[in-house]
Symmetry: C2
Subunit: 195 residues, 2 copies
Amino acid sequence: MIGVVVIHKSMSLDGFVAGPAVSVEDPMGKGGERLHEWLFEQSSQADVDVAAAIFAEVGAVVLGRRTFEVGRPQWEDTPYPVPCFVLTHHAQLPIVEKSGTFTFVTDGAVSAVSQARAAADGRSVIVMGAETSHALLAAGLADEIQINLVPVLLGDGVRLFDDLPGPIDLERLSLIETDEATHMRFRVRTPDGAS
Amino acid sequence: MIGVVVIHKSMSLDGFVAGPAVSVEDPMGKGGERLHEWLFEQSSQADVDVAAAIFAEVGAVVLGRRTFEVGRPQWEDTPYPVPCFVLTHHAQLPIVEKSGTFTFVTDGAVSAVSQARAAADGRSVIVMGAETSHALLAAGLADEIQINLVPVLLGDGVRLFDDLPGPIDLERLSLIETDEATHMRFRVRTPDGAS
């Protein structure tokens, strides 16, 4: 069994995965916490099940430096209880947290994905962060995309998909509707259309 | 019965409703015809039903000058067999087509919507064109949004939702899954949350 590399993001209908002015104090940006209401405030059982399914499949995480920096004070741990690989330009010793370790990867996305795949041991590699997701998609390193589409137009913020080398064809693998989100999983088709 | 004003667009997962370089020769822009495959090449019965439902509900159309100019050579008629109101800065006499009339409205979006509502006689006003959709959303004149979400990342082109004054909260009214698209209808919630 080979795990898949999955970009996983909550996104507004206008394509934002965070509001404007993301900071350590406001990791989701202005108004961006709306995107996570399905996870916290308004969760239905179906939403809870979607979140639980991600926890059940994750074997490792690839995230960007920015996501690491703004997310860590909130998580007070790794975001999932698995090995996490931070794509960065700045070498740093690993940080051991309560339920996982942050390892800093300075030799690029291919290396980060390769290390994460090995650590995931057949389970999925979850990709966090808009810039990192973009880099992996552009390099053909992402197998799937899970979007928790939230029924809101944020108007401004951080876009998940910006200036991608397209077109990239997708196939919808699954869809779960809840009041708070439309949870969709897509497979990234290979450019030659072979898969 | 008062008809609703519905923005209706086929959109890629990365938010584009046409590819780059839209022109009369290439009205959907480079690669943008992919967004209409659900309507033409790959239609399932469910896709055909979605398209038929739009024809059944439409009573009038509001569209922008640009959509009129690039669309008309393709349609060789009005886009739907109903009165069509073109939002423009340039006054022009109405154009009578086979199954409807183009009326040119120079006194703004409120006037165009008001004229279209009257002409629609209780049926829906369908809004076409990214710029016009944006103007109506920004002015609070759109009641609903129907997105035919196409499983592709176009990478570049014309965005439906760009620089909107947000956040604008939505409610998903319906969803129809087909292999070629995820057809979603949203209601635009009023800013005070009253509806």
